[in-house]
C-alpha cells in the first residue's frame, strides 16, 4: 500500500515519438485509479513506466517514499496483470502463482501457504496442478490475479486485463477485481479503453488523449462536468450530445431558434453546447423542436435518435415515455447544459 506520485513524467520513444507528454498526478493510498482513453493514446506506455518496463524519459516517479526511476521492476514492490494473462506456459498454476515469491527467497512452506490462500480467494484450489493451456480464459485471468495478489504488493497495475474475455465474463470479473481490491486495500492503476469499466470501477478516472491528460476526476465529475468535448464524447454511452450553438445576449440559441437556456457569464459568440441524452424532457414546457427519426427500444428505456436544428441529437427516455418518429418539442434541463469553446473544445 503506497502513495504513487508522478511528477512531470513523460515518455519519448527512441524514434522521437512523444507517446506521453509530461504528466503529474498523485494517487492516494488504497485508491483505485483508472486510466482511460482511446487506443494508442499512451495508457500502456504510462503504466509500463510505472512498472519499470519502459524507461522514464522525463520527470520523476515515486512509489511510497522512494523515487523509483532507476529501480528494477522486481524491486518496485508492484504486481502487474497483463491483457493476454502472460502466464508461464510451462509451469503449473501453483508454480505460476508462487514464482515471484520463490525468487524473493520465501521459504517453500510459506509459499505453499500463500498460494493456497490466494487460490482459495480466487476459486483456483482445484486447478492448482493444471497448466495454463488447460484453463479457460476466465480461469487464466484469475490465475494472473492470483499471481499479483500473492506477492502482497504495494501497487497493482492492470493493463486491459478484461479485454480478452467475453462480455458476460467481463462484467463478472469487473466486479470480482473491484471487490478484491477493496478487500485488500492495495493502491491500483487500471488501464482500459472501455469507458464502462472506467466508470464502474474507478475511485478516480484519468482521461488520456494523444499522450496528454484531458481530465482527472471522480466518475461523477467526469460524467457530469467533462473538461472538454473529447471527454464529453468519449465517456458515456450514448455519448453527450454536442451541437453547434450561439450565445446571444446571455441566451443559448441553436440556428437562430428560440432560447434553449441561459448562458450564464459566457460571452456572446459561437459555442459547442453539450447535454447528456438523459437530461432532456419530452413535451411539457418544451419549446425546442426535435425531429425523431429512429426509436431504439432497449427494454428499461428508449433512445430517440434524430436531429435538433439539423444536427444529430439523441434523447434518452424511460420506458413509460411514449415516443414515435416525427417532430416533438423538448426541454433541455438548464442546469445540465455544458458549454464548450467552439475552437479549443475546452469547457467554459
Amino acid at each position: 500500500m503506497a502513495v504513487v506520485k508522478l511528477n512531470a513524467v513523460g515518455k519519448t520513444y527512441p524514434n522521437g515519438f512523444e507517446a506521453v507528454k509530461p504528466s503529474s498526478f498523485t494517487i492516494a493510498d488504497g485508491e483505485f485509479v483508472v486510466l482511460v482513453g482511446p487506443s494508442g493514446c499512451g495508457k500502456s506506455t504510462l503504466l509500463r513506466m510505472v512498472a519499470g518496463l519502459e524507461e522514464i524519459t522525463a520527470g520523476t516517479l515515486n512509489i511510497g517514499d522512494r523515487e523509483v526511476n532507476d529501480v528494477d521492476p522486481a524491486d518496485r514492490d508492484i504486481a502487474m496483470v497483463f491483457q493476454n494473462y502472460a502466464l508461464y506456459p510451462h509451469m503449473t498454476v501453483r508454480k505460476n502463482i508462487g514464482y515471484g515469491l520463490k525468487n524473493r527467497g520465501t521459504t517453500a512452506d510459506t509459499i505453499e501457504a500463500k498460494v493456497q490462500e490466494a487460490a482459495k480467494m480466487l476459486n483456483l484450489t482445484e486447478l492448482l496442478d493444471r497448466k495454463p493451456s488447460q484453463l479457460s480464459g476466465g480461469q487464466r485471468q484469475r490465475v494472473a490475479m492470483g499471481r499479483a495478489v500473492v506477492r502482497d504488493p504495494s501497487l497493482f497495475l492492470f493493463d486491459e486485463p478484461l479485454s480478452n474475455l467475453d462480455a458476460k465474463l467481463r462484467n463478472q470479473m469487473r466486479i470480482e477485481i473491484k471487490a478484491l481490491q477493496r478487500r485488500l486495500g492495495v493502491t491500483s492503476i487500471y488501464v482500459t479503453h472501455d469507458q464502462v469499466e472506467a466508470m464502474t470501477m474507478a475511485d478516480r478516472i484519468i482521461v488520456l488523449n494523444s499522450g496528454e491528460i484531458e481530465q482527472i476526476g471522480t466518475p461523477a465529475e467526469i460524467y457530469h462536468s467533462p473538461a472538454s468535448t473529447f471527454v464529453a464524447s468519449f465517456m458515456g454511452a450514448p455519448p453527450m450530445n454536442l451541437i453547434e450553438a450561439r450565445v446571444e445576449e446571455g441566451e443559448i440559441r441553436v440556428n437562430g431558434g428560440a432560447s434553449i437556456g441561459p448562458a450564464g457569464r459566457c460571452p456572446s459568440g459561437p459555442i459547442q453546447l453539450g447535454v447528456r441524452p438523459e437530461d432532456v424532457e419530452l413535451g411539457g414546457a418544451g419549446q425546442t423542436p426535435f425531429d425523431i427519426s429512429i426509436v431504439e427500444e432497449l427494454g428499461a428505456h428508449r433512445l430517440l435518435h434524430g436531429h435538433l436544428g439539423g444536427q444529430p441529437f439523441t434523447v434518452h427516455v424511460g420506458k413509460e415515455v411514449a415516443a414515435a418518429p416525427g417532430t416533438t418539442q423538448i426541454h433541455l434541463k438548464p442546469e445540465a447544459l455544458r458549454l464548450f469553446d467552439s475552437q479549443t473544445g475546452k469547457a467554459m
Partner: protein, 293 residues
C-alpha cells in the same frame, strides 16, 4: 468436409509412380544392394565374391581402428552439436535483445548457411594453414605449435571448428524465431517476478525454447554424423593417413579407396540402422512434442 476421391485406382498409382521410382532407384535398390553385399567378401580385382555370412560385421567389432573411429565420431558429434547449438543460442539471445525484428542480422548470418560443406572445409584450411593461416598464427602466439593434417588433435580441432562454424547460422535462425515467438508480456511478467536475468533465462526462456532445442538437437546430430563429409574430405585433402575421421568418411575410404566393398557395405548398413533409430526417435518426439498453447 468433403473429401476429393479418385474413381479408379490407376490414376493415383500413375501419379505416384515417378516418386516411387525415384525412391526405389536411389534409395531402396542401393540400400538392398548394400545389405546384400555386406554378407559377401568382394575380390579386390572384381573377380567374383564369396559369401561370408556375418563375418564383415564381426570383423568390424574386433577392428580397433574402426572402434577408434566410431569413438571419435561420437565425440565429434557431441562437440559439434553442443558448440553449434550453444554458440547459436548465445548469439540469438543477444540478437533478440538488440532488435526485435532482426531481419538484416538474420540475412547476414544466413549467408554462411549457403556455403557448401567443401567450401567451408576449404576456408577452414585457409584459416588453419600451416604457413599463412591467421588462426594458426593466433595459436602460435599462445605457444600452440598448430599443425593441420599432421597432428591428430590439431586436425580434429579444425574439423570441429569448421563444422560448428557452418552450422551456427541455421541454428541461430531457429533459435531467434523461437525466442521471438515467446510473448513479450511473458518475458515482462518474468522481469517483474525475478530480478536475475540469468535465472530468468534458465527458468522461463529456456524451457519455452525446449521444442526448438529438441528439434535442433536431432538436426545437428544428423548433420555432424553425415553432412560433415565434405568438410572432412576437404580438410584431409584425400590423405587420411593417421588423421581423425568420422564413420561416414570411413565407409567412403574403405569402399572406394580400399576396394573392400563387403566391409564398407557392412559399415553403411550400421549407419542406416543408426539413421533409422534417429528417425524413429524424432517422430516419437514430434508426436509428443512439447507444445504450450
Amino acid at each position: 468436409m468433403k473429401r476429393a476421391g479418385f474413381t479408379t485406382i490407376w490414376l493415383p498409382v500413375a501419379l505416384l509412380l515417378p516418386q516411387l521410382m525415384i525412391i526405389a532407384i536411389f534409395f531402396y535398390w542401393p540400400a538392398g544392394w548394400a545389405v546384400q553385399s555386406s554378407f559377401y567378401l568382394q575380390d579386390p580385382f572384381g573377380f567374383g565374391s564369396t559369401f561370408v555370412g556375418l563375418e564383415n560385421y564381426t570383423d568390424l567389432g574386433s577392428n580397433s581402428e574402426y572402434l577408434r573411429i566410431a569413438w571419435f565420431t561420437v565425440i565429434y558429434t557431441c562437440l559439434v552439436t553442443f558448440f553449434s547449438l550453444a554458440i547459436a543460442l548465445l548469439l540469438a539471445v543477444k540478437a533478440d535483445k538488440v532488435i526485435r525484428s532482426a531481419r538484416t542480422y538474420r540475412t547476414l548470418l544466413m549467408w554462411v548457411y549457403a556455403i557448401a560443406p567443401p567450401v567451408a572445409g576449404f576456408m577452414g584450411i585457409m584459416f588453419f594453414d600451416q604457413r599463412t593461416g591467421p588462426i594458426t598464427d593466433a595459436f602460435q602466439v599462445f605457444g600452440w605449435d598448430y599443425k593441420l593434417g599432421v597432428n591428430y588433435t590439431d586436425t580434429a580441432t579444425a574439423m570441429v571448428i569448421a563444422a560448428v562454424w557452418k552450422q551456427i547460422p541455421v541454428n541461430f535462425i531457429f533459435f531467434l524465431s523461437g525466442l521471438q515467438s515467446i510473448p513479450r508480456s511473458v518475458n515482462e511478467a518474468a522481469i517483474i517476478d525475478n530480478r536475475s536475468s540469468t535465472s530468468r533465462f534458465w527458468q522461463v526462456t529456456f524451457p519455452l525454447l525446449a521444442p526448438t532445442t529438441f528439434f535442433l538437437l536431432i538436426i545437428n546430430i544428423t548433420y555432424a554424423l553425415f553432412d560433415t563429409f565434405g568438410i572432412i574430405d576437404t580438410l584431409l585433402k584425400g590423405e587420411p593417413g593417421n588423421n581423425p575421421m568420422t564413420l561416414v568418411y570411413k565407409v567412403y575410404l574403405d569402399g572406394f579407396r580400399g576396394n573392400d566393398l563387403g566391409g564398407s557395405s557392412a559399415q553403411s548398413v550400421i549407419l542406416m540402422v543408426l539413421v533409422l533409430i534417429l528417425t524413429v526417435f524424432q517422430f516419437r518426439l514430434i508426436e509428443r512434442r512439447i507444445h504450450y498453447t
